[in-house]
């Protein structure tokens, strides 16, 4: 099978999958914009891997395919870095929420006889059986 067949099919599938996730509102718009842009740029490359050859040569890279590989690597690095950043931010947010919940539970236990859970696994089980192993 010719290389372009695999790459073009992959390009189209990825683009379709991004659109489908968007359509079902599984991707937040701030991420969707990035992924759509990436999809639109990458998909044509699947059909015509040679269109980047001249640009690559100007940059001193042997072929367009190598350039795509390199650019892809850098892109993935940036994307995962961004996700780590988002995860750190989310962790800080959930931590503050957990503290606030504990603060209110302490207040309610002291002033309004709110029950003190025998253990947190009991409390978690009561609300969400999926959380504890």
């Amino acid at each position: 099978m010719h290389l372009t067949v695999i790459t073009s099919i992959t390009g189209v599938l990825v683009l379709v999958y991004i659109l489908e996730l968007l359509r079902r509102q599984q991707l937040r718009e701030k991420y969707a914009a990035i992924w759509l842009a990436i999809g639109v740029v990458v998909a044509p490359l699947g059909f015509f891997p040679t269109i980047l050859d001249s640009t690559a040569r100007k940059l001193g890279i042997a072929s367009g395919v190598s350039l795509v590989l390199f650019a892809g690597f850098v892109l993935l690095l940036l994307v995962s870095l961004h996700l780590s950043w988002e995860a750190s931010r989310l962790e800080a947010e959930t931590r503050t929420l957990a503290e606030d919940v504990a603060m209110m539970r302490a207040y309610l236990a002291e002033h309004h006889d709110y029950p003190i859970a025998r253990s947190n696994s009991d409390a978690a089980k009561a609300t969400d059986p999926g959380v504890t192993a």
């Binding site: 503290e99 919940v101 504990a102 603060m103 003190i116 253990s119």
Partner: protein, 258 residues
């Protein structure tokens, strides 16, 4: 109440149901009128229930946040409930509550007082990479804090009101953040840090980590935490909290309005 100050002892506890009754009873006997707050850090045993049964205030974190997270919560609690002094202390009985008045007395000349294990009293000893790490930390932190500190990873500390406010807004929650980074941050923002010698007791529950590999990893991580603590930017609203409001009367007016 000690010397007319409302005092809160914060005990971060993770599955400490066994050791808690002893330490809580000891605190109540030796330090009547002092409040205790057990921060149940997502325990799976009956830590919270045991603490409540022994007359302590209890806060249950919905899941485990680590020692730093539990302490940050403790300081937020102390700040919200307007305590004059907050002490942190291990729930496993290593820290002798008899030293609490000594630590509080030292707050007259400092914002943060550390109960140091190597400063004369007691016979606590460590060797190998772990002791190198502790020495390195002592040397660097002594320079940062402009005072002689010998035990910078001690979890036995007392804070005055402005220190509580500072820590309730900014407290590092990652590994070793509760000891190293919190101190560096406080020193960098101008808070006065002092130490008093305390004797440590054998822990009644749990085991210390002693393997040389673990100790080496500890050294590396401590170095990284220290480096990050030195170069990290302090948020503006945290830097605005002024040290040196050592008594309630001396509390600066611009802090009250916020």
């Amino acid at each position: 109440m000690i010397d007319g100050k409302r005092v809160l002892i914060i005990l971060p506890a993770w599955n400490e149901a066994e050791g808690l009754p002893k330490i809580l009873r000891e605190i109540q006997q030796k330090l009547p009128g002092v409040d205790t707050l057990v921060v149940d850090d997502g325990s799976t045993d009956s830590t919270a229930a045991v603490a409540a049964a022994h007359g302590s205030k209890v806060a249950q974190l919905p899941y485990n946040l680590g020692v730093g997270g539990a302490m940050r919560f403790g300081y937020r609690y102390a700040h919200l409930h307007d305590y004059d002094v907050a002490l942190q202390c291990d729930a496993d009985g290593q820290h002798d509550p008899s030293y609490v008045p000594t630590l509080i007395a030292k707050l007259d000349e400092a914002d943060l007082v550390i109960g140091a294990r190597f400063a004369g009293e007691g016979s606590y000893k460590v060797r190998g990479p772990r002791s190198w790490a502790m020495k390195l930390l002592s040397v660097v932190l002594s320079r940062v804090a402009r005072t002689r500190l010998t035990d910078t990873t001690s979890g036995y500390k007392a804070c005055n009101k402005s220190m509580i406010e500072f820590f309730s807004h900014w407290y590092p929650v990652e590994y070793l953040g509760d000891t190293i980074e919190s101190m560096v941050g406080a020193a960098r923002c101008g808070f006065v840090i002092r130490q008093v010698p305390v004797a440590m007791r054998e822990r009644t529950t749990g085991t210390p980590s002693a393997s040389p590999i673990k100790a080496t990893i500890y050294l590396a991580r401590a170095g990284l935490v220290l480096l990050l603590a030195m170069i990290r930017r302090m948020p503006k609203h945290v830097k605005a909290i002024q040290p040196g409001t050592r008594t309630t009367a001396a509390r600066s007016p611009q802090l009250i309005g916020r």
